[in-house]
Structure formats: C-alpha cells, structure tokens
Point group: C2
C-alpha cells in the first residue's frame, strides 16, 4: 500500500470511516445547507466526537471542502454525442450529479461568496470542468465544420447555457425539463452560434 494522503496522516480513521464521515457531512449539507450545518451535528450524525474532527480539520470550511472534494469533479469530456446540439443539450440537462449532490451544491454558491476556500473548491469541482466541457464541445463542432471558429458567441457558450438553467431554476424553483432545454438550445443558443 502506498503512503497515506496528507489529510489522513495523523488520523486513526480508516478510509471507510472517513467515507462515512464525508457522507454524514454531505447528508447534512443537503438537509440544512452550509450556514446551518454545525460541527456538533456532523459529530452526532457520524457517531464521532468534535475533538476527533478538530484534530483533522481546522474548522467547518475545511471539513466541508474535504467532503465536497470526496464527490469529485462534475463529469465533462464524455458528452460527445456527435453534434453540437446534442452535446449542448446533454451538458444543460445534467445536474450537479445525482439528486443528493444537487441538494448539496444548491446552497453552496452563497456560502462560497463569503468563504474563499469553498469558492476554490467549487472552481475545481464544477466551474473549471464545466467551462472545459463546453469548450471541448465547441472545439469538436469547429473540427466537424459545424461552427465557424471566429464566431464571437463561442466564448459565451457556458454563460448562455448554464446561465439560462440557473435563471430558470431560480425563477421557477425547480430545474428546467428537457423540453425547455431543447427549445432554448434551438431557439437561442444555436442561432447565437450561427449553427442551423
């Protein structure tokens, strides 16, 4: 077995125990959100002590950051459907992962606007992989000859698609369905990109 990760070095917790602890953090995040989450509640849910937690994490932001990193980044490059339309619909229709992950991340942007470590984690896990996935989709469309490489809307593809999904979810208080996403991609995004 290789050397333990730095975060585990001074811990008596097994990787399985750490996984259970992260699950407890993620469950609580989904249930009550970041602001209302307490180290006490994590300790109770994971059947451990605050002292054990503080031995390894200096505070709530650090513990939550570790638990979020345990989920891993959102998927990206595998959205290769063969057409720009298909890729954009697939990218828009995915959430932050499964339903629990969606609830976990729903409140995280607000917390991240106040807590730089959380913003950094969201950047690693969501923003950068998402921007990269959209750029890969438009690059493939350019390679196929679907999309003109100098179209000025290319730089704004992520903003157009992700932004509309966020705006819809904010206004309606639920995620857009696939019919909305298809109408939006066909009616606004592909015309902006000059793809017909």
């Amino acid at each position: 077995m290789s050397a333990p990760e730095p975060a585990l070095r001074r811990s008596r917790m097994t990787p399985e125990r750490i996984g259970e602890l992260y699950d407890a953090v993620l469950e609580l995040l989904a249930e009550v959100g970041y602001e209302a989450l307490t180290i006490d509640a994590v300790a109770a849910r994971a059947r451990t002590s605050k002292m054990t937690l503080y031995r390894q994490w200096s505070g709530k932001p650090e513990l939550v950051a570790s638990a979020l990193r345990h989920i891993g980044p959102v998927p990206g490059a595998e959205f290769d459907t063969g057409s720009l339309r298909g890729d954009l619909i697939a990218l828009a229709a995915r959430g932050a992962g499964d339903q629990r992950d969606e609830a976990v991340f729903r409140g995280m942007n607000e917390a991240a606007s106040r807590e730089p470590l959380l913003h950094q984690v969201l950047r690693e896990l969501i923003f950068e992989p998402t921007v990269h996935a959209f750029r890969a989709a438009t690059d493939r469309a350019i390679d196929r000859g679907e999309l003109a490489p100098d179209n000025p809307a290319i730089d704004f593809t992520t903003h157009m698609v992700v932004g509309a999904v966020i705006a819809y979810a904010t206004i309606e208080n639920h995620q857009p369905d696939r019919a909305f996403i298809e109408r939006y991609i066909d009616g606004a995004v592909l015309p902006a990109l000059g793809v017909h």
Copy 2:
C-alpha cells in the same frame, strides 16, 4: 389619515420605528445572510425586544419578507434607451439596486429555495418585474421594426441576459463589468435575436 395597514394594526411602533427596524433586518441580511440571521440579533440591532417582534411577525421568514417588501420592486419600465442594444445593456448592468441591496439579495435565492414565502417575495420584487422589463424592451424593439415578432429567442431574453450575469458572478465571485456585458450582448444575445 387613512386606516393603518394590517401589519401595523396591533403595533405601537411608528412608521419611522418600523423603517428603522427594517433597516436593521436588511443590514443584518447583508452582513451575515438569511440562514445566520436571528431574531435576537435583529432585536439587539434595532434596540427592541424579541417579544415586540413576535407580537407582529410570527417568525423570521415573515419579518424578513416585510423588510424586503419595504425595499420595493426592482425598477423596470424606465429602461427605454431607444434601441434594443441599449435597453439590454442597461438591464444587464443594473444590480438589485444599490450595493447594500445587492448584498441583501445575494444569499436570498438559496433561502428562497427552502422557504416558500421568501420565494414568493423574490417573485414579486425581482423575478416578475425583471421578466416584464425585458418583455417591454423586446416589445419596443418589435414596434420599432428592429426585431422580428416571431423570433423564437424573444421568449428567452431574460434567461440569456440575467442568466449570463448570474453565471459570470458565480464563477468569478464578482459582478461582470460593462465591457463584458457589451461583448456578451453584441456577441451572443443580439445575434440570437437576429438583430445586427
């Protein structure tokens, strides 16, 4: 003088005192966010008692809803610059009002996803006036002959513009500047709307 508003009926607070109380709520919202705001903190900041507050508001959501309604809806119809480009840039560049209001509302979407009363208040104060303002801008553009009335992107103008501003602010952790907004309107939104 006309009959007092229902909310003031059983109160000994003067309108001035109510205004000071709402200011205390809004200051605290801007400082700590909705989740961390407590009735205790409001009482201390406004130099009143919890009992006085609970006599008039049944809880935190109701008190916060009253304070938000005190700000009033975001402005809308006055963004008539004479061109669709000018109107869209003006609508995109405005925040939720002044800087305090921006901080107040920044965390409110997360709270609103959990608390129906707050979602209703955001709908009244922000979402509906915003959708209406964008619709008024595209209607004026149709009347001027700038915009084809059957363009499918018209229905998505709010999603495209507001969504991109939210996506930018989420990723970058600060509001987009006017140069970004102009590049986005010129490079993505007006082409989607078929306006050149």
